[in-house]
Symmetry: C2
Subunit: 229 residues, 2 copies
Amino acid sequence: MSIVHYEKYDSLLVAVDCIVFGFDGSELKALLIKRDFEPQIGKWSLMGGFIHQDESADDAAVRILNRLTGLDNIYMEQLHCFADVNRDPGGRVLSIAYFALININDYSQQLMFTHNAQWYSLKDVPELIFDHNTMMKAALEHIRSKAANHPVGFALLPAKFTLPQLQNLYEAIYDSKMDKRNFSRKLLSLNILIKLNEKDKASSKKGAFYYIFDEENYKRLEHEGIKFI
Amino acid sequence: MSIVHYEKYDSLLVAVDCIVFGFDGSELKALLIKRDFEPQIGKWSLMGGFIHQDESADDAAVRILNRLTGLDNIYMEQLHCFADVNRDPGGRVLSIAYFALININDYSQQLMFTHNAQWYSLKDVPELIFDHNTMMKAALEHIRSKAANHPVGFALLPAKFTLPQLQNLYEAIYDSKMDKRNFSRKLLSLNILIKLNEKDKASSKKGAFYYIFDEENYKRLEHEGIKFI
DNA sequence: TCCAATAAGTGTAAATTTTACAATTATATA
DNA sequence: TATATAATTGTAAAATTTACACTTATTGGA
């Protein structure tokens, strides 16, 4: 096989920007950072960075997410490559947006402080730099269409969670109320939930049973798809 | 707003590669080109090219599709950005894959010849350069998951088509037989088909009625989603 | 012109899933 | 012990999906 050396005249800067969603038990939130660097210092934005010569886009996203959260093994998917010519006033920069889900409790206050980071409810997301609001909107649409056909929650919920918490998550994703009888019937019929003999008493006197995900069935349905909506 | 000039040390070449699907009435086919240029001259590949400094990725895809097909207004979606470090042995090149659907009859023999292009049934797709087989596979998965939740056919079928042709398309996408009574009931219930008072006699003595898409309802359902599977 | 062949077009009953809807239960605290 | 709170549970009607086979329109050949 012949190796050619491509001309470099139209090489471009390529960034990765991460939309990080977390769930606090009742609301879906996005992790944003207040920039203490140029360009657009002082404004809110997604966490991002340039892709290096010697790393894949996925690796860059992992690196950037790790820098922001301190976490490894974050659930992450490539969302879309945003490539309008003038999306970044500082120069021609492509951005590959990544969609990540984390358990909000895994995120340390220390790192929040270090990065000027803040969790914003989706309703309250401020104006962001560049096309980051567009990315945010695409990420919200993505999780909605994903949740319609795949189980979600594994990455967003703590290991032990209750049915009301899981329902709150779906209600937060779709920003609408659901019937709890129908919801539990539906979710239990998927065989991805294992009921524990232990209750969470934090939000009611009666207490709600904890569940964990059946990891094997969850991953299978994540691949095969379900029909949630 | 302050304009910064980003360092250029990690700028990358970014290509666009197009997976073009067409439907010949019974089979789903992909448009491939036999390379008459380096690297990998003589091998089959997707049609692609580099993104220029002054064009968006979408514009590059339109340009490349137009060069290959002579067509404007091709149905097209960004699929995924492939960015492994060593995906192209000729150098570090990212590739944004685009997924396009065209009416196979719109494609001229002249252009087929000019570009060394050939329609391949999906079952017979040969070994392609780089990660193009991976892209092809992703495109097939994409059209399958898309067809499960959205109407498809507008871009792939001629303006007038018959119900058996539409069913053939769905059967080709899913590579499986469907019941024609259930299929027609389902599709007709979507209110996206307008029956013409005219028959296609090409494939039967009785003839099959032509239909056209109700463009408004089609576009609405394309946006809202349907539940096909 | 009549018959045979071909593919198009059509209906129904059973099974499953979805939807709408409200009473009971467990527990903590007053 | 009474009360308040949120969790848990069932059922009937409606809608959708599935499985399944005969009739129809037309052409070309006997």
